[in-house]
Subunit: 271 residues, 2 copies
């Protein structure tokens, strides 16, 4: 998917919502747990009820990987039923030396057909660039994450006072363009999103941490939105585990719609 | 596996060799490519011929993942035939927020039964610690890698002149102990291994980059060895692709033995 196509979808739906698919056997409704492929049944129902309000789906690969080969089969099936005009993110946090990253890219872009994959920057240019060589595919590079541990290294300042996450932003702009490179920017640091936007004015940001992790959607939109929105704001648990009753997917749809309505208002105010 | 058990294996075999299993359909002998499970047949033959000389095997997860679910099935079968006294490393470079890292840990430690997994440090404490909660299991944390891109961020210095990889080493010592935490330390920077050893005197190092990537085994041993060896030196391509003829596994065995003989001499000189 191209950036223009993604922006068109955002405008069509008045939404920049990404729904995180984190299927967990301990949390999905009990009536699904005995099915042959509970993860697929769960995600399918969620997708059906939320697809009108979401412009992206983000399966969290760990949740599928933890089941072994059958988890990967579920993942492939889930990916196949996501409508083709919706952006797909393999949240995998991969990254390795060149020839190995190329194989991870093949896993997510060719073996499966995700639009994008999240990548960790620690190993530098040759660990990221192999993912950027696939046409119409995207890297979503970790810059400033939303977890407590983000403070351990990402905020470490160099001799000029520049924190590591800013070096990652600046250096990586030499590797890709706003047409194939997005960044993970955590919403728990609302005040920092504006800083990131200055360094990467045209790139899309994938913003986790709104909702369960405590970030404010309004702050994200105010400080982070650019002329083609430039934001995908993720919600996982707040949507997919809104209810564990039989009508869980209806509840998920309602929560997704609630966020979409807020996002519509943000788009009207800040775009 | 405990550290004492690993050291006992090193002494028994007079070797600190880790064999990297990077099966590639374009590189494995042609007569295997038409088999039902070429990766398994290839790795099995390599393991049979090299097991006397190796104390660790390191499947590179990307190579299996690129095949989708059947790649994961091959990986599980390969893991099952590695002799139980040999240390196993899932070279996966995982790392995510806490509940997600826990699932990656379950994938490699419970769904499969690897002894260790390589982990990327960018997301900090809560992305690494879930892996450390499994008894007799190990984290091998990226510190200083052997690729060109390692210079992009790992050598960035803070205001006191301390490079990032040293902050990773120091900070992570608060999270684990030499009994469950190793580090990836690239051999292409021989002179730096001594620096790393000063910061982490008791931890094992997994050292890639000897052989095809150009590092010197003698420098690694001289600067890196500690009183219980403290080194696992990896060779992948130099062993597994020593020959593409029908007797490829014999050639792999010969290369593994050649390294073991060198390592025996290093252990006599530096241990």
């Amino acid at each position: 998917m191209t950036k223009a196509e993604l922006f068109a979808e955002i405008q069509k739906k008045s939404s920049f919502l990404c729904v995180g698919l984190d299927p967990d056997l301990d949390k999905i409704p009990t009536h699904l747990r005995t099915e042959k492929d509970p993860f697929f049944s769960f995600c399918k129902a969620i997708i059906e009820e939320s697809a009108d309000y979401a412009v992206a789906y983000k399966p969290n690969i760990a949740f599928f990987e933890a089941l072994g080969p059958r988890g990967w089969e579920s993942l492939q099936k889930v990916l196949e039923i996501i409508p083709k005009d919706i952006f797909t993110i393999a949240d995998a946090k991969r990254g390795d030396i060149g020839n190995t990253s190329k194989l991870y890219a093949k896993a997510f872009f060719e073996q499966m057909s995700f639009d994008s994959v999240t990548v960790a920057p620690y190993m530098g240019a040759d660990s990221v660039m192999p993912f950027l060589e696939f046409e119409k595919k995207w890297v979503i590079l970790l810059a400033l994450t939303s977890n407590a541990g983000s403070m351990d290294f990402q905020l470490l300042e160099d001799e000029y006072g520049k924190p590591l996450y800013q070096s990652v932003l600046e250096k990586s702009q030499e590797w890709g363009s706003p047409e194939n490179l997005m960044y993970v920017v955590g919403a728990t640091r609302g005040e920092l999103i504006g800083e990131v936007r200055k360094i990467a004015p045209k790139n899309f940001f994938l913003v986790p941490g709104v909702g369960a992790q405590g970030g404010s959607l309004e702050e994200v939109a105010k400080y982070g939105m650019n002329s083609d929105c430039g934001l995908l704001v993720n919600s996982s648990r707040g949507i997919i585990y809104a209810s564990s009753a039989k009508d869980f997917s209806k509840a998920a749809g309602r929560e997704a719609k609630k966020l979409q309505v807020e996002m519509k208002e943000m788009l009207e105010r800040f775009l």
